[in-house]
């Protein structure tokens, strides 16, 4: 067998590794934009799906601009940290765009006792305003994600999407199916006092109950993960929900007063 000197071995391995590194960096850099676009478009596609609009990934960017008005980031105390106007593609307040927020990072920030900033998407579908709240939690094997689309009253669910990275096909992975997701529509995340109670994912759920849906047979761990995710992530928006519901009911009161005055005037 041929003899190789130590120097040769060192240089050889250095060259091989350097070539591999350069090659990979060049490829990664040149494909970066493509990959990021795919990820962004998919995120928009999923948000659209949550409000009941199915489209291909290519159409997503355009439709997103059509149906969504604002991206907000919300602090733990319900304060709005930033507003991004989607129609004009302009940040109106704050520094970060909600769309670019990584949910996991914010959750970790909060866990370590600091303030997090959490995204809310404001949409307007056929003249009806509503909100989409993204959530992220842990399934059995890896992260699970969802987008909850809420009515203007921030209580009634009008659409959901669930996705996951690595749940078991046929069992936990069933959370992505219509069969699991459809029962969420029409459920309420608030109790009569306006407190967030989330929607429980449990066995033998009562279809008529406002705060529970059926779990997946054989996918108990994933179902529990989804249950926990919804509870923890929706609770976080309690203050935001309070503020917006208060504003909404004020508007309604103002509206009804106006109506009353008008009525009186017309009576006279």
């Amino acid at each position: 067998m041929k003899k190789f000197s130590n120097a040769y071995i060192f240089i050889y391995s250095a060259v091989i590794v350097a070539v591999a590194a350069v090659l990979l960096s060049v490829v990664a850099m040149s494909l970066k934009e493509n990959q990021n676009n795919n990820i962004r478009n998919e995120k928009m596609q999923v948000l659209l799906q949550a409000i009941g609009i199915d489209c291909s990934r290519e159409e997503a960017a355009q439709l997103y601009q059509q149906y969504f008005d604002q991206e907000l980031t919300v602090g733990t105390n319900g304060e709005t940290l930033s507003i991004y106007n989607i129609k004009d593609s302009k940040l109106e307040q704050g520094e970060t765009r909600a769309f670019d927020i990584k949910l996991k990072e914010q959750q970790n920030l909060e866990k370590s006792g600091q303030q997090g900033a959490f995204p809310v998407y404001v949409f307007n579908k056929e003249g009806k305003k509503g909100y989409v709240i993204p959530t992220q939690g842990n399934g059995l094997w890896g992260p699970v994600y969802s987008n909850i689309a809420l009515d203007e009253d921030l209580c009634t669910v009008i659409g959901v999407t669930f996705s996951h990275d690595s749940e078991t096909p046929g069992l936990g992975a069933e959370i992505t199916t219509e069969k699991f997701q459809a029962p969420f529509i029409g459920k309420q995340i608030l109790d009569e006092n306006g407190q967030v109670v989330s929607i429980a994912v449990k066995k033998n759920a009562d279809a008529a109950a406002m705060h529970e849906v059926d779990a997946i047979t054989g996918g108990t761990m994933t179902s529990n993960g989804v249950d926990e995710m919804l509870r923890v992530d929706l609770m976080r928006y309690q203050k935001f929900i309070d503020i917006n519901r208060a504003a909404l009911s004020k508007e309604e009161v103002a509206g009804s007063v106006e109506n009353a005055i008008e009525e009186e005037v017309s009576h006279e």
């Binding site: 071995i9 091989i16 490829v27 493509n34 795919n38 990275d165 690595s166 078991t168 046929g170």
Partner: protein
Amino acid sequence: MSKFSEVFTTPLAKNNPITVQVLGICSCLAVTAQLKPAVVMAISVIVVVALSNLIISLLRNTIPPRIRIIVQLVVVSTLVILVNQVLQAFVYDVSKQLSVYVGLIITNCIVMGRLEAFAMSRKPLESVMDGIGNGMGYGIILVILGFFRELFGSGTLWGFPVMEKLGLYNIGYENNGLVIMAPMALILVGVIIWIQRTKDKDLQENN
């Protein structure tokens, strides 16, 4: 030329990486719950084994034996990352479905095994044929497993609801959850090995 075709065909049956050499079992259990990931995984492995065999075969006289495993690993990982990056950029949906499994190709014994056993001592063209042959031998088993596991586990094929269209659910048929679990894949591999050995007397041990 007959030698070439032999290099290519033996791994398909007589020396199949999964059923005869019993390599790559881990990934074969992991990716075969559905047909589509199984097929994409098979194609990815064919590409990686063929290319890494080619590269190592070209470099074989320059590689110092003492660090040959490291060199092989660098080549294989580079190729796997390349495949992963390309999948992410151009066939995003498929890459999402495969997620971690693409990375698992690096640890697939078949790849390293072929590099050590074949490419280190053969000419490039032969090595490529050997790589494609082994990749396909692996792929065939994956596709067979994926077919049966998806059909009986989820009642679909390539996402198409076969069982529902046949109306079997209405007469009381139910999907078998066990088929989706990894142990059933191992049992199925066992069944394939059994059938293959019954057919091919050469594979039976004499004792």
